[in-house]
Symmetry: C2
Subunit: 257 residues, 2 copies
């Protein structure tokens, strides 16, 4: 069997209606492009959702960190390169580099951690059992990804709840639970629009802890932990229940424009 | 000056995370692809946002109707063809046809009405004054668009408010007001997810009446007007105000799967 390249890149455009009031691509849409690049890359190499879903397995995003020196502006054409830099039994780490299609300059990078789960039991399943550990043929530890790994996000237990939202039809994706990128939008919607004036997101990270479903109520706790650093936790409250269960937590670092 | 073709088509993919629990493309994302196709088509022909915005003018979507015999499924590659079939002083009508890249079969059609406004006064401005009425060179009344025009959507004055939402950072696009596609998501989020089980949206229409902004509260009135027909009105309540002002109204027709 012929192996493909370890790194592959996919072209995207910063569509105008995917850009915020400052004409910069929403980081949620950038995250979506990264998830698409991951899906295309793994599918082309034989261990994507299209191969795994009929086997009752799927990839689940566990952590994502995005760090940008510059965000693509409306109409900018860019590539998202992606490669796997490590695979263990239950987790793989996958990196991303975002660069201009015009002059090749790098906008920023991403790092992510993925688990493979059994879609019946929702339990982790052995990544290296897939096609005899084929993913090991694609590990690339040479290509640089000069940003720190996703960190452990800390939040005070008494961080205030600033917003709630019901999980609706538009939140639920092909996997039947709230879409990973929707949480990114929800996190950013705990900020005032003024927080995005004169500054931009330098680093965004999110750790996914549990899945949430149609009918759940989400509640958002937001805490400022530094001059330009904020932490947001999302809890879910299932219908008929009143105990919040953590769904994800996120850290946002801003830089001045 | 060489004229381009009157009809142009643009390729899109039904990205997996842009599909709902039934693996069909969310109609909001299809609407976004249509808006992109309209933007590319008008920009290539000399009267797009990239030319108009520096002149303090922009296109504003007034009405959109989408009627589908089938919705693209996850990973389907499709084209959105678009053309202008009429231009008057203050309004143009633009049509869309969505077809498979694989076998050319038609998924459905769209019809839209656009106004050109002055971005300083927010008042309508003369479309035919742009490049000496260049748009008239591109009117195509031959290409078929076999769906009815956007209709006048009727709603009882006492239709109940079923949901409210604050306008947040993620709702606001490059134009500084709530993104047209976000309203489509909001309309669909007044339905139960069960409404989308065993049936699908056959026709969706929306009429945009006023703009809404960061800080507004949106309220959604929903009325069932037939076995498979529902009407949703969105009103805004500006901060410090308590008088609802109509922002848009929408009609959704379902068909059994």
């Amino acid at each position: 069997m012929t192996l493909l390249s370890k790194v592959a890149k996919y072209p995207f455009t910063a569509e105008p209606f995917h850009c915020d009031f400052s004409h910069r691509l929403f980081i949620g849409h950038l995250g979506n492009h990264m998830l698409n690049a991951a899906d295309y890359h793994s599918s082309e190499r034989g261990y994507g959702m299209n191969y795994l879903n009929p086997l009752h397995k799927t990839w689940v995003l566990s952590r994502l960190a995005i760090e940008m020196t510059e965000m693509p502006h409306a109409y900018d054409k860019f590539n998202v390169a992606t490669w796997v830099d490590g695979a263990m039994k239950y987790f793989t780490s996958r990196n991303f580099a975002v660069s201009s299609q015009d002059d090749g300059h790098v906008y920023g990078y991403g790092r992510s951690i993925w688990a493979l789960i059994d879609t019946d039991s929702r339990q982790p399943t052995d990544i290296l059992s897939i096609r005899n550990g084929l993913i090991n043929e694609y590990i690339d530890t040479d290509t640089p990804c000069p940003i720190s790994k996703p960190s452990r996000v800390q939040l005070s237990p008494d961080a205030p709840v600033v917003r709630t939202a019901d999980v609706c039809y538009s939140d639920i994706d092909v996997n039947g639970h709230v879409n990973s990128v929707k949480y990114i939008e929800h996190v950013l919607d705990t900020f005032s629009i003024d927080d995005f004036k004169g500054r931009h997101i330098k680093r965004f990270e999110i750790a996914y802890v549990a899945e949430s479903y149609y009918g759940d109520k989400l509640q958002f706790s937001h805490e400022q932990t530094g001059e330009d650093e904020h932490v947001v936790r999302i809890d879910k409250i299932a219908a008929g229940d009143n105990k919040p269960i953590e769904v994800c937590r996120s850290k946002v670092n801003f830089a001045k424009d």
